[in-house]
Amino acid sequence: MLLRWNAAAIAAACLMGCATLAQAAGPAPTDPQIAHIAYTAGALDVAVAKQALKKTKSKEVKAFANDMVRDHEAVNKQALALVKKLKVTPEDNDTSRALTRQIKDEQAKLAKLKGKAFDKAYIDHEVAYHKTVNGALTSTLIPSAHNAELKSFLETGLKIFQGHEQHAEHVAADLK
């Protein structure tokens, strides 16, 4: 089973803490798979943000969660327009599935928390999640992308995710 996993799948499976493990050997993801991974990464962050909006009592955490919903929905709308233009059909794959499983597990953990404990866990997750996705973008998704427009879109996506990571770190510092 390990033979089928590519670098990005391994990185996704080791989400919290294994961001540097994306260098493993294996076939690089194709453009349709990359498009699917990028879209999924954004859509999953929207799902967790919506959970946070229902649970948090903190104005700052609410504002951050709203920013995540707004930004990722806008980027994903752009992603859909791009794949339509490029006639690329996003293809489900092990990495997208691993990411989805990880986030479902995280949401189950977050569901059991409330108040300040929830806020801290949510924001800490957001820092780790954005770090991991940034690692996958840098080491695998961007270098593997063949289509120049897709590559450029991912490079802008990396800047956005890096911005989110920093934003989450600011909020984490305020929650201390």
Binding site: V75, K159, I160, G163, H164
Partner: protein, 110 residues
């Protein structure tokens, strides 16, 4: 004094440099900062009090120009242009509060 310069036979343009040099106000300028792919272009702007910054946001995301000293916080909705008239002199480092990796600087002369 001007009357003598405008005496018949003298070209009008001789009178103009004096009038403009002595009496003209400094005109307020409009400076454009384009926001595209999460970057402020130009990132460094020199302006003066009374000038207007035109923030042109070409991204699909909302951004902000938030001064580190909290003296301004201008939000630029996606694909919109927002004007900001500069009322205070000083050197202002600013960043986007949604994407803090976006940075810029405004130097405003009195």
């Amino acid at each position: 004094m001007f009357a003598s310069l405008l005496r018949k036979g003298r070209p009008l343009w001789l009178a103009l440099p004096l009038a403009v040099g002595v009496a003209a106000p400094a005109f307020a300028e409009t400076i454009t900062v384009t926001i595209e792919k999460l970057a402020f272009q130009p990132a460094k702007v020199k302006a003066k009090v009374g000038d207007t910054i035109q923030w042109v946001n070409k991204d699909v995301l909302a951004h902000s120009a938030t001064a580190r000293d909290k003296s301004f916080d201008v939000i630029q909705p996606p694909k919109k242009t927002v004007s900001q008239t500069l009322t205070r002199a000083g050197s202002f480092d600013y960043y986007c509060k949604y994407h803090p990796n976006m940075k810029g600087r405004l130097d405003v002369a009195p």
